[in-house]
């Protein structure tokens, strides 16, 4: 019994840490522009598929290197590519809608999402690609009956490192201070000498870089990649951001991990709880039930209060 629980906690942390990394991208853009960038999930997909192509390219060009080198190469190509896509998206689509009614950028975001998926379909085709298992997926037993794979450990470790780096950037650096100032008031930030267009572009770039890593981690964990693979993690990460309190960095991280844990634990027990009526493929309902409950009692999300004027 306790093994199932521990196992599901580990699985939940893996999924949750990826949600958290993606949720940060949603929440940063929302914090600075009040925009829900529905295309953010598709950046995750672009990251996974770009890494895939670069890995296959390098394996062909220089065979026989240690697998981790191919993996790192994939990441190092995917991150700048996603950053460029994120930047282009802001520059070409959202910037000119900065002062438009709220609905216009939202619809545009959905359009950008379709556009990215269509482009990906043209580039990578409609089929599912098997993802090279460069980081071992052989389970290691940590307790009797409780397993963790190296790729899971890497996912948690890398996500934690990225989150820490982002928190340091936002809370401790001049750039982070300018990001927070811009999020609070574009006009006043401009009066302080902040080029707010640059700060907003950087926010998209940073969020997209995080999404690239998340995409590679997701594909490495599941062993497949596909042009529409960004949709589900995108929706889940958005849910996580709302759960934690959208616009709030700590909220996105807590929301992501909480959502991952709820899903995993729910998936582990749903069959027992419903006497076999529902099975683990219904795990998604937990996320949304919990989201509903949280929003009824705390409309600003778990940590949403922190964005209030008086902290």
């Amino acid at each position: 019994m306790i093994q199932t629980l521990l196992q599901q906690i580990i699985n939940g942390l893996v999924v949750g840490s990826v949600y958290a990394v993606v949720a940060l991208g949603y929440t940063m853009v929302y914090g600075i522009l009040g925009l829900i960038n529905f295309a953010h999930g598709d950046i995750v997909m672009v990251g996974a598929l770009t890494a895939l192509s670069s890995i296959l390219f390098l394996q062909e060009a220089i065979p026989g290197l240690p697998p981790v080198i191919y993996f790192l190469f994939g990441l190092l190509v995917a991150i700048p590519v996603c950053m460029a896509v994120g930047y282009t998206m802001e520059r070409a689509a959202y910037r000119r809608l900065r002062n438009a009614p709220r609905l216009a950028p939202l619809i545009t975001a959905i359009g950008v999402s379709f556009l990215l998926q269509t482009l990906a379909m043209i580039i990578w085709g409609r089929s599912y690609h098997s993802y090279p298992q460069l980081i071992s997926t052989a389970p290691l037993q940590i307790f009797t009956g409780v397993f963790v794979t190296p790729v899971q450990l890497l996912t948690i470790g890398l996500s934690a490192a990225l989150m820490l780096a982002l928190v340091v950037l936002v809370t401790r650096t001049k750039l982070g201070r300018a990001m927070r100032a811009t999020a609070e008031n574009h006009r006043i930030a401009g009066l302080m000498g902040v080029d707010t267009n640059r700060i907003i572009a950087l926010t998209f770039i940073i969020g997209s870089g995080l999404a690239a890593v998340a995409g590679v981690m997701i594909a490495s964990n599941y062993g497949v990649a596909h042009y529409s693979m960004g949709f589900t993690p995108g929706i889940k990460a958005f849910t996580a951001a709302v759960l934690g309190g959208i616009g709030n960095l700590a909220g996105a991280m807590v929301g992501g991990v909480v959502l991952g844990l709820i899903e995993a634990i729910g998936a582990g027990y749903i069959e027992t709880w419903t006497g076999g009526w529902l099975n683990s493929s219904y795990q998604d309902i937990f996320a949304f039930i919990i989201l509903g409950i949280v929003l009824i009692f705390r409309p600003t999300g778990l940590l949403g209060e922190r964005v209030a004027d008086r902290a």
Binding site: A181, L191, M192
Partner: protein, 252 residues
């Protein structure tokens, strides 16, 4: 009350630091400023007074670059700055303490001050200037780690001024710094204005408290309905019956 001491310089053969020529500013179809001329010379304190809705804030915002011109010319240091975005004007030396103070309420007091120095990279000098601001505004220093949204109105105004000074501006634009503040705090603010003028800064002051502003200013402009209706030295305007009636609350 302190009377502004420096004599008015009457002969100006040098070109002005800031010059507005037939400046028009509009909000959509509504013209808020309908063609004004205004000049500021280096080292001057000039005030802009006028009734509510006259267009004073609009004018300051257009000088600082947060509102576009609908017509006319804006030159600063002999350069046309009408097309420069606000952040570049700040870098060129124009700092605005906006109406309502514009404090970043979620940042700490210290972070707000450091935002003022955002455009600078001379770290040692920034620290020295921070110390200067603390000396000038001791109440700010006691609250450095506090979230700025929790400051009192007067403290926020001090913070807003200190923050603007940290950019080391040549031209400081103050939009109703005394609004809603107790007389002692107002006096403190005018002391600070006096100090920065001594350091060679140029100040354009918008004030509801016209008596105070005119007493301190070398020159002043009176604005009404989007136009400049009167201008002159502070003393002249203080003596002007129209001004006394309309802005100093006196029956003539």
């Amino acid at each position: 009350m302190l009377i502004w001491g420096a004599p008015t310089m009457l002969v100006k053969d040098v070109s002005p630091l800031l010059r507005l020529r037939d400046v028009k500013i509009a909000y959509g179809q509504i013209q808020a400023v309908k063609g004004i001329d205004l000049e500021l010379h280096a080292g001057e304190l000039v005030s802009l007074i006028g009734a509510n809705g006259a267009g004073k804030t609009t004018t300051l915002n257009a000088i600082a670059g947060t509102l576009p011109l609908a017509g006319g010319a804006l030159t600063y240091c002999d350069e046309d700055i009408a097309a420069l975005p606000a952040h570049k004007r700040l870098r060129a030396g124009i700092a605005l303490v906006p109406e309502g103070r514009g404090i970043f309420t979620r940042l700490t007091v210290e972070e707000n001050l450091r935002m003022g120095a955002y455009s600078r990279s001379d770290d040692a000098e920034i620290e020295a200037d921070m110390e200067n601001v603390y000396r000038m505004l001791p109440r700010v220093k006691e609250r450095l780690a506090q979230v700025a949204g929790t400051l009192s109105g007067g403290e926020q105004q001090m913070l807003a001024i200190g923050r603007a000074l940290l950019s080391r501006p040549k031209l400081l634009l103050l939009d109703e710094p005394s609004m809603g503040l107790a007389p002692l705090v107002v006096e403190k603010i005018f002391e600070v204005v006096q100090t920065v003028l001594k350091q060679g800064m140029t100040v354009l002051l918008v004030e509801q408290n016209a008596t105070l502003a005119l007493e301190f200013s070398q020159r002043a402009y009176v604005m009404d309905g989007g136009k400049i209706t009167l201008s002159g030295t502070g003393e002249e305007l203080l003596r002007n019956p129209k001004v006394r009636e309309a802005y100093l609350g006196e029956a003539v």
